[in-house]
Structures are given as C-alpha cells and as structure tokens.
C-alpha cells in the first residue's frame, strides 16, 4: 500500500482534505484514522483577527508532524493561469513545498477545470520547478497533454467537487488508466462512498484524494477508517486480478457425479 509522488514514497494511497470538518479536533482524529500522509490546504484572505484559521493551521501542522506527512497546497478558487501561478508561488514560500495541487476553474456551476488555463499554468509551474498535481476532468487527451508536459501525477475527477456522486464516467477513467500506464493516477473529487474509492483502486488507480466524503459523514473518524480499508481492498482486488465477466450462468458446484434423480431417464 505504498504510493510514490514525485519520488516521495508514502505509506497510504489516500490523500485527504482538511476542510468542512465539524471541528479541528475531529479533523485531526479523522485524518489520523485515515492513515493518509498527505493533507491538502489552501491560502485565503481570512481576517487574521479571526482565530479559527490560525487554529486549523496549528492542527494541520500537528497532523503532518505526527504522520511524517506532507502538505499539499491547492490553488482553489483560481480561474486564470496568472492567479494560479501567483498562488502557487505564495504557497511554495509559506508551506516550504514545491508540490501544488493545481486547480484552475472554468465554470462556477460545476467547478469544472478549465483545460486550456490548466495546461498553460502547468507549463509555467513545471518550468519554475514545481511538482504539479493537476486536478482535471476525465478527458483522455487532456490527461495525455498534462503527462507530456511533465506531470508525473494526474488527478482526473470522479465527478464535480463536493457532489459525492462517485464515478460518473467509469469508461473514461478506465481508458485513462489504460492509455497512461506509467502515470501516477489519483482520482480526485466527487467521491461519496468507500465503494467509489474501492472501484477506482480496482481499476488500477494509484490513489484517491477526497475531503467531503469524510468530513461530511455523520461520523468522520469512522468514515476515514472505512475509506482506508476500501483502498486496501480495491488495490488487493486489482493486484489479485478480477475474473473475466461472462454472459451466461456457469454452475459453481461441480456437475459430475450428480445424484441419481438428475440422471437422464429418472423420474
């Protein structure tokens, strides 16, 4: 169950967000329960006189220290290349990491990434030494372009952020896996249930990034454990090799030496 991101080996294939939890304490318990070593966070204009932001930041630092983990800043809310590049540079200085979860949103309704701005921002950030983890749609050609630019990690969506709708287009996601066998693929956004994460792992995805599915569960800590288990099950299923689907029924029990009342001619 190890995942490698830009050469950094991690113990868990789950990447987890730090938003929307009922409290900072529950956030900490849930993230620790998930086993994840990568926590996403962001930069905003929050009023520094409000303590909640500072408190959350302290908790996130504690979690990363306790897990030997890593911060993954995002560029949430950015709509242009310039905005995303500026925010990435601010994050690099503040969080002391060249990892960036690159989000460039093109539509406010479904928070769909803008593929053109995403490619442009990716190109600039890679040239500036960033290790880019782009959040993108499940478009094969877009993913291919991102990989060709030099992204070792690609993060297509399962469905729009925060919807919990799960894998909307399994065919697209499977095709991306098939066509980009050497890319590290992490399913990001739209995950609702542990079974969604399990399906992604059964497809051969390398990891899953989620937030709302755990944070908005009735019991976030228990749900975090459920996701951790789901990822393990899915990966083991993938490695074990799923049986081929068949069109017709085949008896599981051997038919040889059946009792006499099944023999031809018997009443």
């Amino acid at each position: 169950m190890s995942l490698t991101i830009y050469g950094q080996q991690l113990n868990s294939r789950l990447l987890i967000g730090s938003a929307l939890y009922p409290s900072p304490e529950i956030m900490k318990q849930a993230i620790l329960a998930s086993g994840s070593q990568v926590v996403t966070l962001s930069l905003k204009r929050q009023n520094p006189s409000e303590l909640s932001g500072a408190k959350n930041w302290q908790y996130i630092q504690d979690i990363v220290k306790q897990t030997n983990g890593f911060l993954l800043p995002n560029t949430a809310g950015c709509k242009t290349t310039k905005e995303a590049v500026t925010l990435a540079k601010m994050s690099r200085e503040l969080f002391n990491t060249d990892w960036i979860k690159l989000e460039v949103i093109g539509d406010d309704y479904n928070l769909q990434p803008d593929p053109l701005e995403l490619l442009s921002a990716t190109e600039q950030l890679l040239a500036d030494g960033f290790k880019v983890l782009p959040y993108c749609t499940d478009d094969l050609v877009l993913c291919q372009r991102l990989y060709d630019l030099g992204c070792q990690v690609i993060m297509p969506w399962a469905s729009p952020i925060g919807t919990g709708k799960g894998l909307m287009n399994p065919y697209n996601l499977e095709t991306i896996r098939l066509r980009l066998p050497d890319a590290t693929l992490i399913l990001d956004a739209g995950i609702g249930k542990p079974s969604d994460a399990c399906i992604a792992m059964e497809m051969g995805y390398d990891g899953v990034l989620l937030n709302s599915a755990v944070a908005l569960a009735d019991n976030p800590v228990l749900m975090a454990k459920a996701f951790a288990n789901a990822l393990i099950s899915g990966e083991q299923g993938y490695l074990a090799g799923v049986m081929a689907e068949r069109q017709t029924a085949h008896p599981s029990t051997p038919t040889l030496d059946q009792p006499f009342w099944h023999q031809p001619g018997s009443n």
């Binding site: 967000g17 730090s18 938003a19 929307l20 939890y21 956030m27 996403t40 966070l41 962001s42 930069l43 905003k44 204009r45 929050q46 009023n47 520094p48 006189s49 932001g53 500072a54 959350n56 930041w57 996130i60 800043p73 995002n74 949430a76 310039k82 905005e83 500026t86 925010l87 540079k89 601010m90 994050s91 200085e93 503040l94 969080f95 952020i161 925060g162 989620l210 937030n211 709302s212």
Partner: protein
C-alpha cells in the same frame, strides 16, 4: 498613500512607501503578530519575503496578504 489590502481601502498613514511598511501597518491594525504565517502578492504578483523591504509602492497598489486555511 492610498492602498488596497485584501480588497479593502487601506491608507498608508505613516511615513514610508515600501511593502514592508504597509504589511507592518496592516498587521498592526489587525492586532496581529508578524510571526503569523502569511504570504503576499502585489498587484497580482507574488513578492518574496526577502523583497518586502525593497519593494516600493505606488498610490492605488493592491496587496493581498494570504493566510493558511483548510482546503480540499
């Protein structure tokens, strides 16, 4: 000098015209320590901490002071 910090009008009242002075005054106005974690952009461009003191401001400049926040 009239500035905009985090979208709000912010007059630079004391003598001075550098980004460092503007940040100092802004944080002071918020009763917050400069030890807080933050990063700064000037007119949409990232400015490194090392450059705050050398960065001269102009009337109408827009500054963003951003802080860590939870995110997904």
């Amino acid at each position: 000098m009239k500035l905009y910090i985090n979208g709000q009008s912010f007059p630079l009242t004391k003598n001075g015209n550098t980004l460092e002075q503007a940040i100092n005054q802004y944080m002071d106005s918020q009763n917050k320590s400069l030890d807080l974690s933050f990063a700064v952009a000037l007119n949409g461009n990232f400015i490194s901490k090392d450059d705050y003191a050398q960065t001269k401001l102009n009337d109408g400049d827009s500054i963003d002071v951003l802080f860590p926040i939870q995110g997904g």
